[in-house]
Amino acid sequence: MAHSSSQSAPLDNQFAVSSGRKMFGNIMTALVFSCVAIAAIPLVSILFMVITKGLGGLTPAVFTDLPPAAGVAGGGFRNAITGTLITCLIGALISVPFGVLTAVYTIEFGRGNKLSQFVSFCTNILSGVPSIIAGLFAYGIVVLATGTFSAVAGGIALSVLMLPIIIRTSEEGFKSIPRDTRLAATGIGATNFQSVTQIILPAAMPFIATGVTLALARAAGETAPLLFTALFNQYDAKSIWEPTATLSVLIYNFAISPYKNQQALAWVAALIVVLLILVVSILARIVSRRKVY
Protein backbone atom coordinates (compact mmCIF):
# COMPACT_ATOMS: atom_id res chain seq x y z
CA MET A 1 0.00 0.00 0.00
CA ALA A 2 1.17 3.48 -0.80
CA HIS A 3 0.98 4.93 2.66
CA SER A 4 3.09 2.28 4.38
CA SER A 5 6.35 3.48 2.90
CA SER A 6 5.93 6.92 4.38
CA GLN A 7 6.28 5.62 7.92
CA SER A 8 10.05 5.66 7.63
CA ALA A 9 10.07 9.15 6.14
CA PRO A 10 13.02 11.30 7.27
CA LEU A 11 12.43 13.78 10.06
CA ASP A 12 12.38 16.94 7.99
CA ASN A 13 9.53 15.51 5.97
CA GLN A 14 7.29 14.81 8.92
CA PHE A 15 5.17 17.88 8.81
CA ALA A 16 4.08 17.33 5.25
CA VAL A 17 1.82 14.34 4.78
CA SER A 18 3.18 12.52 1.76
CA SER A 19 1.10 12.57 -1.40
CA GLY A 20 0.57 8.81 -1.29
CA ARG A 21 -0.96 9.01 2.17
CA LYS A 22 -3.07 11.94 1.13
CA MET A 23 -4.34 10.12 -1.92
CA PHE A 24 -5.21 7.07 0.17
CA GLY A 25 -7.19 9.33 2.47
CA ASN A 26 -9.01 10.99 -0.38
CA ILE A 27 -9.88 7.73 -2.03
CA MET A 28 -11.21 6.31 1.21
CA THR A 29 -13.24 9.43 1.93
CA ALA A 30 -14.72 9.25 -1.55
CA LEU A 31 -15.49 5.57 -0.97
CA VAL A 32 -17.29 6.25 2.27
CA PHE A 33 -19.35 9.03 0.75
CA SER A 34 -20.32 6.77 -2.12
CA CYS A 35 -21.29 4.06 0.38
CA VAL A 36 -23.67 6.52 1.97
CA ALA A 37 -25.00 7.58 -1.41
CA ILE A 38 -25.55 4.00 -2.55
CA ALA A 39 -27.25 3.15 0.72
CA ALA A 40 -29.37 6.27 0.52
CA ILE A 41 -30.82 5.67 -2.96
CA PRO A 42 -32.97 2.61 -2.21
CA LEU A 43 -33.89 3.91 1.20
CA VAL A 44 -35.07 7.23 -0.12
CA SER A 45 -36.83 5.46 -2.97
CA ILE A 46 -38.80 3.24 -0.59
CA LEU A 47 -39.96 6.16 1.50
CA PHE A 48 -40.76 8.21 -1.58
CA MET A 49 -42.74 5.45 -3.30
CA VAL A 50 -44.67 4.51 -0.20
CA ILE A 51 -45.64 8.12 0.39
CA THR A 52 -46.57 9.04 -3.20
CA LYS A 53 -48.28 5.80 -4.18
CA GLY A 54 -49.93 5.54 -0.79
CA LEU A 55 -51.20 9.11 -0.74
CA GLY A 56 -52.52 8.65 -4.27
CA GLY A 57 -55.01 6.03 -3.14
CA LEU A 58 -55.79 7.41 0.27
CA THR A 59 -59.52 8.04 0.61
CA PRO A 60 -61.89 8.01 3.57
CA ALA A 61 -63.32 4.78 2.18
CA VAL A 62 -60.05 3.09 3.06
CA PHE A 63 -60.96 3.34 6.73
CA THR A 64 -64.64 2.55 6.39
CA ASP A 65 -65.00 -0.08 3.67
CA LEU A 66 -64.16 -3.74 3.35
CA PRO A 67 -61.57 -5.06 0.88
CA PRO A 68 -62.88 -5.01 -2.70
CA ALA A 69 -63.27 -8.00 -4.94
CA ALA A 70 -60.86 -8.46 -7.83
CA GLY A 71 -61.11 -5.66 -10.35
CA VAL A 72 -63.81 -3.74 -8.50
CA ALA A 73 -62.78 -0.14 -7.91
CA GLY A 74 -62.86 1.51 -4.49
CA GLY A 75 -63.04 -0.35 -1.25
CA GLY A 76 -60.90 -0.17 1.84
CA PHE A 77 -59.63 -2.31 4.64
CA ARG A 78 -61.23 -1.29 7.91
CA ASN A 79 -61.21 -4.93 9.00
CA ALA A 80 -57.45 -5.11 8.48
CA ILE A 81 -56.85 -1.96 10.52
CA THR A 82 -58.83 -3.24 13.48
CA GLY A 83 -57.32 -6.68 12.98
CA THR A 84 -53.77 -5.30 13.22
CA LEU A 85 -54.67 -3.36 16.34
CA ILE A 86 -56.29 -6.38 17.97
CA THR A 87 -53.52 -8.88 17.21
CA CYS A 88 -50.90 -6.40 18.41
CA LEU A 89 -52.91 -5.77 21.56
CA ILE A 90 -53.17 -9.48 22.29
CA GLY A 91 -49.43 -9.81 21.69
CA ALA A 92 -48.75 -6.97 24.12
CA LEU A 93 -51.12 -8.30 26.76
CA ILE A 94 -49.15 -11.53 26.84
CA SER A 95 -45.62 -10.29 26.37
CA VAL A 96 -45.62 -7.15 28.55
CA PRO A 97 -46.39 -8.69 31.95
CA PHE A 98 -44.33 -11.75 31.05
CA GLY A 99 -41.35 -9.69 29.94
CA VAL A 100 -41.43 -7.09 32.69
CA LEU A 101 -41.71 -9.67 35.47
CA THR A 102 -38.92 -11.72 33.93
CA ALA A 103 -36.75 -8.60 33.98
CA VAL A 104 -37.74 -8.06 37.62
CA TYR A 105 -36.28 -11.46 38.36
CA THR A 106 -33.08 -11.09 36.34
CA ILE A 107 -32.26 -7.66 37.74
CA GLU A 108 -33.97 -7.35 41.11
CA PHE A 109 -33.95 -10.83 42.57
CA GLY A 110 -31.32 -12.85 40.79
CA ARG A 111 -28.94 -10.30 39.34
CA GLY A 112 -25.87 -12.08 38.03
CA ASN A 113 -26.86 -15.56 39.21
CA LYS A 114 -26.93 -18.66 37.04
CA LEU A 115 -30.64 -18.51 36.27
CA SER A 116 -30.57 -14.88 35.17
CA GLN A 117 -27.54 -15.48 33.00
CA PHE A 118 -29.39 -18.37 31.43
CA VAL A 119 -32.47 -16.19 30.92
CA SER A 120 -30.38 -13.47 29.26
CA PHE A 121 -28.91 -16.07 26.95
CA CYS A 122 -32.36 -17.38 26.07
CA THR A 123 -33.60 -13.85 25.49
CA ASN A 124 -30.85 -13.24 22.98
CA ILE A 125 -31.55 -16.52 21.23
CA LEU A 126 -35.28 -15.83 21.24
CA SER A 127 -34.70 -12.48 19.56
CA GLY A 128 -32.96 -14.32 16.73
CA VAL A 129 -35.78 -16.80 16.12
CA PRO A 130 -37.11 -16.21 12.57
CA SER A 131 -40.56 -14.70 12.65
CA ILE A 132 -42.04 -17.39 10.45
CA ILE A 133 -41.06 -19.94 13.06
CA ALA A 134 -42.98 -18.01 15.69
CA GLY A 135 -45.94 -18.35 13.34
CA LEU A 136 -45.50 -22.10 12.97
CA PHE A 137 -45.21 -22.40 16.75
CA ALA A 138 -48.50 -20.58 17.30
CA TYR A 139 -50.06 -22.69 14.55
CA GLY A 140 -48.93 -25.81 16.34
CA ILE A 141 -50.10 -24.84 19.81
CA VAL A 142 -53.19 -22.72 19.08
CA VAL A 143 -54.60 -23.30 15.62
CA LEU A 144 -54.29 -27.06 15.79
CA ALA A 145 -55.58 -27.14 19.36
CA THR A 146 -58.59 -24.89 18.79
CA GLY A 147 -59.28 -26.00 15.24
CA THR A 148 -59.50 -22.46 13.92
CA PHE A 149 -57.29 -19.66 12.71
CA SER A 150 -57.74 -16.68 15.01
CA ALA A 151 -56.54 -13.32 16.24
CA VAL A 152 -55.48 -15.07 19.43
CA ALA A 153 -53.16 -17.36 17.52
CA GLY A 154 -51.75 -14.34 15.69
CA GLY A 155 -51.30 -12.45 18.95
CA ILE A 156 -49.46 -15.37 20.52
CA ALA A 157 -47.12 -15.59 17.52
CA LEU A 158 -46.44 -11.86 17.82
CA SER A 159 -45.88 -12.10 21.57
CA VAL A 160 -42.96 -14.48 20.96
CA LEU A 161 -41.32 -11.77 18.85
CA MET A 162 -42.17 -8.97 21.29
CA LEU A 163 -41.00 -10.76 24.41
CA PRO A 164 -37.23 -10.36 23.98
CA ILE A 165 -37.60 -6.66 23.14
CA ILE A 166 -39.60 -6.06 26.29
CA ILE A 167 -37.31 -8.09 28.52
CA ARG A 168 -34.27 -6.21 27.26
CA THR A 169 -35.64 -2.70 27.59
CA SER A 170 -37.11 -3.46 31.02
CA GLU A 171 -33.77 -4.81 32.14
CA GLU A 172 -32.12 -1.64 30.94
CA GLY A 173 -34.68 0.38 32.86
CA PHE A 174 -34.10 -1.50 36.09
CA LYS A 175 -30.36 -1.29 35.66
CA SER A 176 -30.58 2.49 35.30
CA ILE A 177 -31.84 2.80 38.86
CA PRO A 178 -28.99 3.41 41.26
CA ARG A 179 -28.23 0.77 43.87
CA ASP A 180 -28.60 3.49 46.50
CA THR A 181 -32.28 3.88 45.72
CA ARG A 182 -32.86 0.18 46.30
CA LEU A 183 -30.90 0.32 49.54
CA ALA A 184 -32.98 3.28 50.64
CA ALA A 185 -36.19 1.37 50.16
CA THR A 186 -34.83 -1.73 51.88
CA GLY A 187 -33.35 0.39 54.65
CA ILE A 188 -36.72 1.70 55.74
CA GLY A 189 -38.33 -1.70 55.75
CA ALA A 190 -39.85 -2.10 52.30
CA THR A 191 -40.32 -5.66 51.13
CA ASN A 192 -39.00 -6.51 47.69
CA PHE A 193 -42.52 -6.42 46.34
CA GLN A 194 -43.12 -2.96 47.76
CA SER A 195 -39.86 -1.52 46.53
CA VAL A 196 -40.31 -3.03 43.06
CA THR A 197 -43.91 -1.99 42.57
CA GLN A 198 -43.74 1.41 44.21
CA ILE A 199 -40.21 2.66 43.58
CA ILE A 200 -38.44 0.68 40.87
CA LEU A 201 -41.23 0.13 38.37
CA PRO A 202 -42.40 3.76 38.33
CA ALA A 203 -38.82 4.95 37.93
CA ALA A 204 -38.17 2.46 35.12
CA MET A 205 -41.45 3.25 33.39
CA PRO A 206 -40.00 5.38 30.57
CA PHE A 207 -37.75 2.48 29.55
CA ILE A 208 -40.57 -0.03 29.74
CA ALA A 209 -42.88 2.22 27.75
CA THR A 210 -40.16 2.61 25.13
CA GLY A 211 -39.78 -1.14 24.96
CA VAL A 212 -43.51 -1.67 24.59
CA THR A 213 -43.79 0.85 21.78
CA LEU A 214 -40.76 -0.58 19.99
CA ALA A 215 -42.23 -4.05 20.29
CA LEU A 216 -45.58 -2.80 19.00
CA ALA A 217 -43.85 -1.09 16.09
CA ARG A 218 -42.22 -4.36 15.17
CA ALA A 219 -45.40 -6.39 15.63
CA ALA A 220 -47.49 -4.04 13.52
CA GLY A 221 -45.45 -4.83 10.43
CA GLU A 222 -44.93 -8.55 10.93
CA THR A 223 -46.47 -10.70 8.23
CA ALA A 224 -44.90 -14.12 8.28
CA PRO A 225 -46.11 -15.02 11.79
CA LEU A 226 -49.66 -14.09 10.87
CA LEU A 227 -49.93 -16.00 7.59
CA PHE A 228 -50.92 -19.27 9.26
CA THR A 229 -52.30 -17.97 12.51
CA ALA A 230 -54.59 -14.99 12.03
CA LEU A 231 -54.81 -15.89 8.35
CA PHE A 232 -57.08 -13.38 6.62
CA ASN A 233 -60.73 -12.46 6.52
CA GLN A 234 -62.65 -10.66 3.80
CA TYR A 235 -65.03 -9.34 6.45
CA ASP A 236 -64.89 -8.06 9.99
CA ALA A 237 -63.98 -10.77 12.43
CA LYS A 238 -66.82 -11.20 14.89
CA SER A 239 -64.65 -12.48 17.68
CA ILE A 240 -61.00 -13.02 18.49
CA TRP A 241 -61.52 -16.71 17.77
CA GLU A 242 -62.07 -16.18 14.06
CA PRO A 243 -59.70 -15.69 11.14
CA THR A 244 -58.74 -12.02 11.20
CA ALA A 245 -57.48 -9.68 8.51
CA THR A 246 -54.36 -7.64 9.22
CA LEU A 247 -52.71 -4.84 7.28
CA SER A 248 -49.50 -6.71 6.68
CA VAL A 249 -51.15 -9.85 5.34
CA LEU A 250 -53.38 -7.66 3.20
CA ILE A 251 -50.31 -5.99 1.71
CA TYR A 252 -48.87 -9.39 0.89
CA ASN A 253 -52.06 -10.77 -0.62
CA PHE A 254 -52.71 -7.69 -2.71
CA ALA A 255 -49.09 -7.20 -3.77
CA ILE A 256 -49.01 -10.61 -5.42
CA SER A 257 -52.51 -10.24 -6.83
CA PRO A 258 -52.71 -9.45 -10.55
CA TYR A 259 -55.44 -6.80 -10.14
CA LYS A 260 -54.51 -3.15 -10.30
CA ASN A 261 -57.07 -1.98 -7.75
CA GLN A 262 -55.80 -4.43 -5.17
CA GLN A 263 -52.19 -3.49 -5.88
CA ALA A 264 -53.06 0.16 -5.36
CA LEU A 265 -54.67 -0.65 -2.02
CA ALA A 266 -51.52 -2.54 -1.03
CA TRP A 267 -49.58 0.72 -1.32
CA VAL A 268 -52.15 2.58 0.74
CA ALA A 269 -51.97 -0.10 3.41
CA ALA A 270 -48.16 0.11 3.31
CA LEU A 271 -48.36 3.85 3.88
CA ILE A 272 -50.64 3.37 6.84
CA VAL A 273 -48.43 0.70 8.38
CA VAL A 274 -45.33 2.84 7.92
CA LEU A 275 -47.08 5.87 9.40
CA LEU A 276 -48.29 3.77 12.30
CA ILE A 277 -44.76 2.57 12.96
CA LEU A 278 -43.36 6.06 12.57
CA VAL A 279 -45.80 7.52 15.05
CA VAL A 280 -45.17 4.75 17.53
CA SER A 281 -41.37 5.09 17.18
CA ILE A 282 -41.52 8.83 17.68
CA LEU A 283 -43.70 8.22 20.70
CA ALA A 284 -41.05 5.86 22.01
CA ARG A 285 -38.44 8.58 21.62
CA ILE A 286 -40.51 11.12 23.44
CA VAL A 287 -41.25 8.72 26.27
CA SER A 288 -37.65 7.66 26.61
CA ARG A 289 -36.62 11.26 27.09
CA ARG A 290 -38.56 11.45 30.32
CA LYS A 291 -36.01 9.46 32.20
CA VAL A 292 -35.95 9.88 35.95
CA TYR A 293 -32.27 9.10 36.33
Partner: protein, 320 residues
Protein backbone atom coordinates in the same frame (compact mmCIF):
# COMPACT_ATOMS: atom_id res chain seq x y z
CA UNK B 1 -25.91 -11.07 82.91
CA UNK B 2 -29.41 -10.14 83.80
CA UNK B 3 -31.95 -10.29 81.10
CA UNK B 4 -32.89 -7.32 79.06
CA UNK B 5 -36.35 -5.92 78.81
CA UNK B 6 -38.55 -8.53 77.32
CA UNK B 7 -41.79 -6.81 76.40
CA UNK B 8 -40.71 -5.12 73.16
CA UNK B 9 -38.36 -7.97 72.34
CA UNK B 10 -41.21 -10.37 72.02
CA UNK B 11 -42.94 -8.15 69.57
CA UNK B 12 -40.02 -8.29 67.15
CA UNK B 13 -40.33 -12.05 67.09
CA UNK B 14 -44.08 -11.78 67.13
CA UNK B 15 -44.24 -9.41 64.23
CA UNK B 16 -41.76 -11.58 62.39
CA UNK B 17 -43.75 -14.72 62.83
CA UNK B 18 -47.33 -13.56 62.86
CA UNK B 19 -49.24 -13.73 59.62
CA UNK B 20 -48.73 -10.66 57.48
CA UNK B 21 -50.30 -10.47 54.05
CA UNK B 22 -47.47 -8.37 52.65
CA UNK B 23 -44.91 -11.01 53.55
CA UNK B 24 -47.06 -13.58 51.77
CA UNK B 25 -47.46 -11.29 48.78
CA UNK B 26 -43.74 -10.77 48.66
CA UNK B 27 -43.09 -14.50 48.58
CA UNK B 28 -45.70 -15.12 45.93
CA UNK B 29 -44.31 -12.28 43.84
CA UNK B 30 -40.82 -13.67 44.08
CA UNK B 31 -41.89 -17.11 42.98
CA UNK B 32 -43.96 -15.65 40.17
CA UNK B 33 -40.96 -13.86 38.72
CA UNK B 34 -38.81 -16.97 39.05
CA UNK B 35 -41.47 -19.02 37.29
CA UNK B 36 -41.73 -16.55 34.42
CA UNK B 37 -37.95 -16.31 34.08
CA UNK B 38 -37.78 -20.08 33.80
CA UNK B 39 -40.58 -19.93 31.25
CA UNK B 40 -38.47 -17.81 28.90
CA UNK B 41 -36.14 -20.77 28.62
CA UNK B 42 -39.07 -23.13 28.32
CA UNK B 43 -40.55 -21.13 25.45
CA UNK B 44 -37.49 -21.90 23.37
CA UNK B 45 -37.76 -25.57 24.19
CA UNK B 46 -41.48 -25.47 23.58
CA UNK B 47 -41.00 -23.93 20.12
CA UNK B 48 -38.50 -26.58 19.17
CA UNK B 49 -40.67 -29.32 20.61
CA UNK B 50 -43.84 -28.20 18.83
CA UNK B 51 -42.01 -27.99 15.51
CA UNK B 52 -40.48 -31.40 16.11
CA UNK B 53 -43.83 -32.93 16.95
CA UNK B 54 -45.38 -31.99 13.63
CA UNK B 55 -42.19 -32.62 11.68
CA UNK B 56 -41.82 -36.15 13.06
CA UNK B 57 -43.59 -38.04 10.25
CA UNK B 58 -41.43 -36.32 7.64
CA UNK B 59 -38.27 -36.95 9.65
CA UNK B 60 -39.22 -40.63 9.94
CA UNK B 61 -39.97 -40.90 6.22
CA UNK B 62 -37.08 -38.96 4.71
CA UNK B 63 -34.38 -38.89 7.36
CA UNK B 64 -31.31 -36.85 6.50
CA UNK B 65 -31.88 -37.47 2.79
CA UNK B 66 -34.35 -34.59 3.10
CA UNK B 67 -31.38 -32.22 3.10
CA UNK B 68 -29.94 -33.46 -0.17
CA UNK B 69 -33.06 -34.33 -2.11
CA UNK B 70 -34.23 -31.83 -4.74
CA UNK B 71 -37.73 -33.13 -5.34
CA UNK B 72 -40.82 -31.44 -4.00
CA UNK B 73 -43.59 -33.58 -5.32
CA UNK B 74 -46.96 -33.48 -3.55
CA UNK B 75 -48.43 -36.01 -5.96
CA UNK B 76 -45.95 -38.75 -5.17
CA UNK B 77 -45.36 -37.44 -1.66
CA UNK B 78 -41.61 -37.12 -2.03
CA UNK B 79 -40.01 -34.09 -0.47
CA UNK B 80 -36.54 -32.65 -0.09
CA UNK B 81 -35.22 -29.17 0.52
CA UNK B 82 -31.83 -29.10 -1.11
CA UNK B 83 -32.74 -26.23 -3.48
CA UNK B 84 -34.16 -24.26 -0.56
CA UNK B 85 -31.08 -24.73 1.60
CA UNK B 86 -28.97 -23.67 -1.36
CA UNK B 87 -31.22 -20.65 -1.98
CA UNK B 88 -31.27 -19.66 1.67
CA UNK B 89 -27.52 -19.76 2.06
CA UNK B 90 -26.75 -18.20 -1.32
CA UNK B 91 -29.20 -15.32 -0.91
CA UNK B 92 -27.89 -14.56 2.59
CA UNK B 93 -24.32 -14.75 1.36
CA UNK B 94 -25.00 -12.38 -1.55
CA UNK B 95 -26.85 -10.01 0.76
CA UNK B 96 -23.89 -9.91 3.14
CA UNK B 97 -21.51 -9.42 0.23
CA UNK B 98 -23.23 -6.14 -0.57
CA UNK B 99 -24.39 -5.05 2.85
CA UNK B 100 -21.19 -5.53 4.85
CA UNK B 101 -18.89 -3.12 3.00
CA UNK B 102 -21.73 -0.63 2.60
CA UNK B 103 -22.75 -0.94 6.24
CA UNK B 104 -19.26 -0.59 7.64
CA UNK B 105 -18.69 2.38 5.33
CA UNK B 106 -21.83 4.08 6.56
CA UNK B 107 -20.94 3.28 10.17
CA UNK B 108 -17.52 4.87 9.72
CA UNK B 109 -19.19 7.83 8.10
CA UNK B 110 -21.53 8.23 11.04
CA UNK B 111 -18.89 7.93 13.77
CA UNK B 112 -15.85 9.69 12.35
CA UNK B 113 -17.23 13.22 12.05
CA UNK B 114 -16.97 13.64 8.30
CA UNK B 115 -19.91 15.99 8.56
CA UNK B 116 -21.27 18.06 11.43
CA UNK B 117 -23.61 16.23 13.86
CA UNK B 118 -26.51 18.36 12.63
CA UNK B 119 -26.48 16.40 9.38
CA UNK B 120 -25.45 13.07 10.87
CA UNK B 121 -28.25 12.87 13.44
CA UNK B 122 -31.08 12.82 10.90
CA UNK B 123 -29.18 10.28 8.79
CA UNK B 124 -28.83 8.05 11.82
CA UNK B 125 -32.51 8.51 12.55
CA UNK B 126 -33.47 7.52 9.02
CA UNK B 127 -31.32 4.41 9.33
CA UNK B 128 -33.19 3.49 12.49
CA UNK B 129 -36.50 4.13 10.84
CA UNK B 130 -35.57 1.89 7.95
CA UNK B 131 -34.81 -0.90 10.35
CA UNK B 132 -38.43 -0.58 11.45
CA UNK B 133 -39.99 -0.76 7.98
CA UNK B 134 -41.74 -4.12 7.66
CA UNK B 135 -40.30 -6.65 5.28
CA UNK B 136 -43.61 -6.94 3.44
CA UNK B 137 -43.20 -3.28 2.44
CA UNK B 138 -39.71 -4.01 1.17
CA UNK B 139 -41.27 -6.84 -0.79
CA UNK B 140 -43.93 -4.58 -2.24
CA UNK B 141 -41.32 -2.05 -3.24
CA UNK B 142 -39.18 -4.81 -4.70
CA UNK B 143 -41.97 -6.13 -6.90
CA UNK B 144 -43.17 -2.83 -8.31
CA UNK B 145 -40.13 -0.55 -8.18
CA UNK B 146 -36.81 -2.21 -7.63
CA UNK B 147 -36.96 -5.33 -9.79
CA UNK B 148 -38.32 -3.50 -12.84
CA UNK B 149 -35.66 -0.81 -12.37
CA UNK B 150 -32.67 -3.15 -12.26
CA UNK B 151 -33.94 -5.48 -14.93
CA UNK B 152 -32.29 -3.64 -17.87
CA UNK B 153 -29.00 -3.46 -15.97
CA UNK B 154 -29.05 -7.16 -15.23
CA UNK B 155 -29.94 -7.93 -18.82
CA UNK B 156 -26.91 -5.90 -19.85
CA UNK B 157 -24.72 -7.85 -17.47
CA UNK B 158 -26.14 -11.07 -18.83
CA UNK B 159 -25.36 -10.04 -22.41
CA UNK B 160 -21.82 -8.98 -21.58
CA UNK B 161 -20.87 -11.57 -18.99
CA UNK B 162 -23.27 -14.40 -19.77
CA UNK B 163 -20.28 -16.75 -20.12
CA UNK B 164 -19.80 -16.52 -16.38
CA UNK B 165 -22.08 -19.24 -14.94
CA UNK B 166 -23.47 -16.92 -12.24
CA UNK B 167 -24.93 -14.60 -14.87
CA UNK B 168 -25.78 -17.24 -17.43
CA UNK B 169 -29.59 -16.96 -17.51
CA UNK B 170 -31.59 -14.07 -18.90
CA UNK B 171 -33.12 -12.32 -15.89
CA UNK B 172 -36.90 -12.60 -15.84
CA UNK B 173 -39.33 -10.85 -13.51
CA UNK B 174 -38.15 -12.47 -10.28
CA UNK B 175 -34.77 -13.91 -9.45
CA UNK B 176 -32.45 -14.76 -6.61
CA UNK B 177 -30.09 -11.89 -7.33
CA UNK B 178 -32.73 -9.17 -7.07
CA UNK B 179 -34.15 -10.73 -3.92
CA UNK B 180 -30.67 -10.81 -2.41
CA UNK B 181 -30.16 -7.13 -3.18
CA UNK B 182 -33.38 -6.24 -1.39
CA UNK B 183 -32.28 -8.47 1.46
CA UNK B 184 -29.01 -6.53 1.56
CA UNK B 185 -30.92 -3.27 1.89
CA UNK B 186 -32.98 -4.78 4.69
CA UNK B 187 -30.05 -5.95 6.79
CA UNK B 188 -28.04 -2.79 6.21
CA UNK B 189 -29.51 -0.93 9.22
CA UNK B 190 -28.61 -3.85 11.54
CA UNK B 191 -24.99 -3.77 10.44
CA UNK B 192 -24.80 0.00 10.60
CA UNK B 193 -26.37 0.21 14.05
CA UNK B 194 -24.14 -2.34 15.77
CA UNK B 195 -20.92 -1.39 13.96
CA UNK B 196 -21.60 2.20 14.82
CA UNK B 197 -22.19 1.41 18.50
CA UNK B 198 -18.96 -0.57 18.52
CA UNK B 199 -16.91 2.15 16.86
CA UNK B 200 -18.22 4.93 19.02
CA UNK B 201 -17.66 2.95 22.21
CA UNK B 202 -13.97 2.40 21.49
CA UNK B 203 -11.79 4.10 24.11
CA UNK B 204 -10.83 7.62 22.94
CA UNK B 205 -7.20 6.93 23.87
CA UNK B 206 -6.95 4.68 20.81
CA UNK B 207 -7.82 7.52 18.50
CA UNK B 208 -5.73 10.11 20.34
CA UNK B 209 -2.80 7.73 20.49
CA UNK B 210 -2.91 7.10 16.80
CA UNK B 211 -3.24 10.76 15.87
CA UNK B 212 -0.51 11.52 18.36
CA UNK B 213 1.84 9.23 16.42
CA UNK B 214 1.17 11.27 13.31
CA UNK B 215 -1.26 8.93 11.59
CA UNK B 216 -3.80 10.50 9.26
CA UNK B 217 -7.49 10.06 9.84
CA UNK B 218 -7.76 7.20 7.41
CA UNK B 219 -4.70 5.43 8.71
CA UNK B 220 -6.27 5.66 12.14
CA UNK B 221 -9.56 4.25 10.90
CA UNK B 222 -8.21 1.40 8.84
CA UNK B 223 -5.31 0.35 11.04
CA UNK B 224 -6.49 1.15 14.56
CA UNK B 225 -10.24 1.64 14.88
CA UNK B 226 -11.64 -0.99 12.54
CA UNK B 227 -9.28 -3.72 13.81
CA UNK B 228 -10.10 -2.75 17.40
CA UNK B 229 -13.83 -2.92 16.73
CA UNK B 230 -13.57 -5.97 14.52
CA UNK B 231 -15.29 -8.44 16.80
CA UNK B 232 -18.19 -6.02 17.25
CA UNK B 233 -18.44 -5.64 13.49
CA UNK B 234 -18.27 -9.40 13.02
CA UNK B 235 -20.98 -9.75 15.65
CA UNK B 236 -23.19 -7.34 13.74
CA UNK B 237 -22.59 -9.29 10.55
CA UNK B 238 -23.53 -12.54 12.27
CA UNK B 239 -26.73 -11.03 13.65
CA UNK B 240 -27.55 -9.67 10.21
CA UNK B 241 -26.88 -13.11 8.77
CA UNK B 242 -29.28 -14.61 11.28
CA UNK B 243 -31.91 -12.15 10.15
CA UNK B 244 -31.24 -12.79 6.46
CA UNK B 245 -31.50 -16.56 6.85
CA UNK B 246 -34.91 -16.31 8.46
CA UNK B 247 -36.30 -13.50 6.37
CA UNK B 248 -39.53 -14.63 4.81
CA UNK B 249 -41.77 -12.08 3.19
CA UNK B 250 -39.37 -10.18 0.98
CA UNK B 251 -38.02 -13.43 -0.39
CA UNK B 252 -41.40 -15.08 -0.79
CA UNK B 253 -42.42 -12.07 -2.87
CA UNK B 254 -39.23 -11.61 -4.89
CA UNK B 255 -37.27 -14.80 -5.26
CA UNK B 256 -39.55 -16.44 -7.78
CA UNK B 257 -40.24 -19.63 -5.83
CA UNK B 258 -38.72 -22.03 -8.31
CA UNK B 259 -37.88 -25.39 -6.90
CA UNK B 260 -34.41 -25.77 -8.32
CA UNK B 261 -30.85 -25.00 -7.38
CA UNK B 262 -29.53 -23.11 -10.36
CA UNK B 263 -25.94 -21.98 -10.55
CA UNK B 264 -27.08 -18.74 -12.17
CA UNK B 265 -27.97 -15.97 -9.80
CA UNK B 266 -30.35 -14.54 -12.38
CA UNK B 267 -32.74 -17.47 -12.26
CA UNK B 268 -35.72 -17.82 -9.93
CA UNK B 269 -35.01 -19.79 -6.78
CA UNK B 270 -36.55 -20.50 -3.40
CA UNK B 271 -35.56 -20.44 0.26
CA UNK B 272 -36.74 -22.48 3.22
CA UNK B 273 -38.77 -19.61 4.61
CA UNK B 274 -40.30 -18.67 1.25
CA UNK B 275 -41.16 -22.31 0.63
CA UNK B 276 -43.07 -22.46 3.90
CA UNK B 277 -44.86 -19.19 3.23
CA UNK B 278 -45.92 -20.31 -0.23
CA UNK B 279 -46.87 -23.90 0.37
CA UNK B 280 -48.33 -23.86 3.84
CA UNK B 281 -51.81 -22.78 2.81
CA UNK B 282 -52.46 -25.78 0.59
CA UNK B 283 -50.33 -28.27 2.44
CA UNK B 284 -51.59 -31.12 4.55
CA UNK B 285 -50.36 -34.46 5.82
CA UNK B 286 -46.82 -35.36 4.90
CA UNK B 287 -46.34 -32.14 2.95
CA UNK B 288 -47.15 -30.01 6.00
CA UNK B 289 -44.95 -32.23 8.10
CA UNK B 290 -42.13 -31.71 5.61
CA UNK B 291 -42.58 -27.95 5.84
CA UNK B 292 -42.15 -28.20 9.61
CA UNK B 293 -39.07 -30.32 9.05
CA UNK B 294 -37.73 -27.51 6.88
CA UNK B 295 -38.59 -25.01 9.62
CA UNK B 296 -36.67 -27.11 12.11
CA UNK B 297 -33.62 -27.01 9.85
CA UNK B 298 -33.98 -23.25 9.55
CA UNK B 299 -34.32 -22.95 13.32
CA UNK B 300 -31.13 -24.93 13.92
CA UNK B 301 -29.30 -22.91 11.28
CA UNK B 302 -30.28 -19.53 12.75
CA UNK B 303 -29.72 -20.81 16.28
CA UNK B 304 -26.14 -21.74 15.47
CA UNK B 305 -25.47 -18.43 13.76
CA UNK B 306 -27.02 -16.48 16.61
CA UNK B 307 -25.17 -18.35 19.36
CA UNK B 308 -21.95 -17.73 17.49
CA UNK B 309 -22.85 -14.06 17.16
CA UNK B 310 -23.59 -13.84 20.88
CA UNK B 311 -20.22 -15.31 21.67
CA UNK B 312 -18.38 -12.92 19.39
CA UNK B 313 -20.25 -9.86 20.66
CA UNK B 314 -19.91 -10.78 24.33
CA UNK B 315 -16.21 -11.38 23.85
CA UNK B 316 -15.93 -7.88 22.50
CA UNK B 317 -17.79 -6.51 25.48
CA UNK B 318 -15.47 -8.32 27.87
CA UNK B 319 -12.41 -6.89 26.18
CA UNK B 320 -13.98 -3.49 26.53
Amino acid sequence: MTSLTTAPAETLIDSSTKFQPERQINQIFRWLTIALAVCVGLVLLWITYSLLLIALPAIRTFGLGFLTNSTWNPVEEIYGVFPQIYGTILSSFLALLFAVPLGVGVAVFLTENFLPPKILTPIAFIMELLAAIPSVVYGLWGIFVFLPAIRPILQGINRAFGWIPFFSTTPGGRHLFGASLVLAIMILPTIVAISRDTMSSLPPQLRQGSYGLGATRWETITRVLVPAGLSGIIGSVMLALGRALGETMALAMLVGNANNANISWFSPASTIASLIANQFGEASGLQKSSLFYGALILMVLTLLVNILAQMVVSRFQQVE
